[in-house]
């Protein structure tokens, strides 16, 4: 089975702070990590390989420093890793990014399974992976908990709002993984050392087959950022006090009744 996993390098959003004076995002010193949901996607890929055999290819679009997350993918068990990087790719929105990744996948393919995380923790759109499926014309299944293969059929369990949906389909498929899908494995020391020396080939614009440059980069992105701002918080809550927990509770209930909340 030929499997590709799309991985994004993201800033660890739990570590981001706001500059209280300039009211902007402080990104310096914020560690870059593998998008956590992509780690689940990689684990899904590795489990499929463990069970059914095959090859796992990790693919990332980004700047050269994003090779760090590809090395991490190799150390967890991916067989190969590629970085799609080119000036022409910069400034891409989800439409353009998914187009570029679909072209890179075509270049590396063909694949039976394409995997990605349900969303990235920086952009939080959850749109890129299903958009890749659309560019490729592949069947997509989002929020997949697990996959079972029965002959030429694939049975997937999807996490939906109402519970779990069991879906049957056929290869090739694109699936997105979520935190509930699995627990990503740790890298082995041996693989970690090997990954440091591993060659990570780059995919540039010139490598893509029949690529339409009007669908790439800032110019090829239908959406544009008009402005950004940081959320303002103004503390104007009422402090509830009391001499005992019961008194605090009574005071709160009193306030809620007065405000007609209760």
């Amino acid at each position: 089975m030929n499997i590709v996993v799309c991985i994004k390098q993201v800033p660890d959003t739990t570590e981001i702070k706001i500059d209280p004076v300039k009211n902007t995002l402080i990104r310096t010193g914020v560690p870059s990590i593998m998008n956590p949901f992509d780690k689940n996607a990689l684990e899904t890929a590795l489990q499929l390989k463990d069970q059914y055999g095959g090859k796992v290819t990790a693919l990332c679009m980004g700047l050269p420093q994003a090779k760090a997350v590809l090395r991490e993918a190799l150390s967890m068990g991916a067989d190969e890793a590629y970085l799609a990087t080119d000036r022409a790719f910069g400034g891409s929105d989800t439409y353009a990014t998914s187009y570029i990744l679909s072209k890179a996948i075509e270049k590396l393919g063909p694949f039976d399974v394409i995997l990605g995380g349900k969303q990235a923790i920086d952009g939080d759109t959850g749109q890129t992976a299903p958009s890749i499926a659309e560019h490729l014309g592949a069947t997509r299944l989002t929020y997949v908990l697990d996959l079972k293969i029965e002959g030429d059929k694939v049975i997937a369990r999807r996490q939906v709002e109402e519970g779990i949906e069991v879906v049957e389909t056929r290869f090739p498929i694109l699936c997105t993984a979520t935190k509930e899908s699995n627990k990503p494995r740790y890298a082995t020391v041996k693989r970690k050392i090997a990954s440091l020396k591993a060659e990570i080939p780059e995919i540039h614009l010139a490598d893509l087959i029949d690529a339409d440059t009007t669908k790439m980069g800032l110019k090829g992105s239908p959406t544009k950022v008009k402005a950004t701002f940081t959320p303002q918080r103004t503390a104007n809550g009422v402090t509830i006090e009391g001499n005992s927990p019961i008194e605090v509770a009574d005071n709160l209930i009193g306030k809620l009744v007065d405000a007609k909340v209760l």
Partner: protein, 336 residues
């Protein structure tokens, strides 16, 4: 799709087993605002096997027109079938703006339509407005875990599209006397085009386990809960108040609660009548998912916790004392 001819604001009414999900009705309220700004009509799109409940709701929540596509092949969502229908409708009626609920299936459908029509889709919008001069919708959304907000435009292509999370907006008051024009379209999707088949849906919710986005009261716990077992005191308080229990990402990461109960940027967005945050510090990623709640009560030992900046009622103290006291006093009040 052309700038000159495109018209109207469309809202996709997502359904489950024939029943409209709340988010589509919430979006009709936002759609009305955009339709007024653009001086256009508000249209609902209903696709399904049993469509009547959704058509009725779309009418009551204010659609001017409702496009309805009925068929056995639409009993369950599939990107292939629903996408086919939606694209056919777009071809025929050429919408200006499309709003889709950011449900599991809505996100999927939205990206399918946007890629097929080569247009822009902005995810998880929390505020929508119209720039009347250009006719562009200004899509506002959080990023970086809610640390940053961005205003996005789709100024060169139509339709302009966005998804909004369930609970991000409130439903307007329904009007049973509204008289929407209902347009039934015969669009069928050949079986060979539908590549996925739903075999079964295993419902997760037990009778006593209310869904987060449907609860009027949510009692949430975070890192300060210290263990999975301690969530029992939150459940007791939630039961007395007729609500349900939620949690922060820290509680999920610690393995105390399932991710389905997580409130925040990577979990659910909620806007209940009462939200009680217990032992939750109030990281932006959490606040982004609950700040629209009507009344927010925060209980935390640390008086500098950022959760107090968004709370209406602040209690600095030990949640293990305050929560049981609240449960006890509310019980006494109900009985007395």
């Amino acid at each position: 799709m052309s700038f000159e001819t495109c018209k109207d604001v469309w809202v996709f009414i997502d359904t489950f087993q024939g029943q409209p999900k709340s988010v589509g009705l919430e979006l009709l309220g936002q759609g009305r605002k955009l339709a007024e700004g653009l001086k256009q009509k508000l249209c609902a799109v209903v696709i399904g096997k049993d469509v009547e409940p959704a058509v009725k709701a779309a009418n009551e929540y204010g659609a001017d027109k409702i496009y309805v596509v009925k068929g056995d092949e639409y009993e369950n969502y599939s990107a292939d079938a629903y996408g086919h229908v939606f694209l056919e409708l777009c071809k025929k009626y050429d919408p200006n703006t499309i709003l889709v609920g950011a449900t599991v299936n809505g996100r999927d459908l939205g990206s399918k339509i946007a890629v097929s029509l080569r247009t822009g889709l902005t995810a998880d919008c929390t505020a929508l407005s119209v720039d009347e001069e250009t006719g562009n919708v200004v899509w506002e959304r959080p990023a970086f875990g809610g640390n940053l907000y961005a205003q996005i435009l789709c100024s060169e292509t139509r339709p302009q599209m966005g998804t909004c999370r369930p609970g991000a907006f409130k439903k307007q008051t329904p009007n049973p006397d509204n008289k929407a024009e209902i347009i039934y379209e015969e669009i069928h999707t050949p079986a060979e085009l539908i590549r996925t088949k739903v075999l079964e849906i295993i419902k997760a919710c037990e009778n006593d386990d209310m869904r987060l986005d449907e609860a009027d009261v949510i009692v949430s716990g975070g890192r300060g809960m210290k263990s999975a077992e301690n969530f029992a005191i939150l459940k007791e308080l939630a039961d007395v108040m007729g609500g349900t229990v939620g949690c922060s990402r820290a509680a999920v990461d610690s393995g105390w609660m399932p991710q389905t109960k997580q409130v925040g940027q990577t979990g659910s967005t909620v806007a209940p009548k009462i939200y009680i945050a217990c032992g939750i510090s109030g990281a932006v990623q959490h606040v982004a998912g609950m700040s629209e709640s009507d009344t927010i009560i925060a209980i935390n030992k640390d008086e500098t916790a950022p959760i107090f900046e968004v709370a209406d009622y602040c209690i600095v103290g030990d949640l293990f004392e305050i929560v049981p006291a609240l449960t006890k006093e509310l019980k006494a009040k109900q009985q007395g």
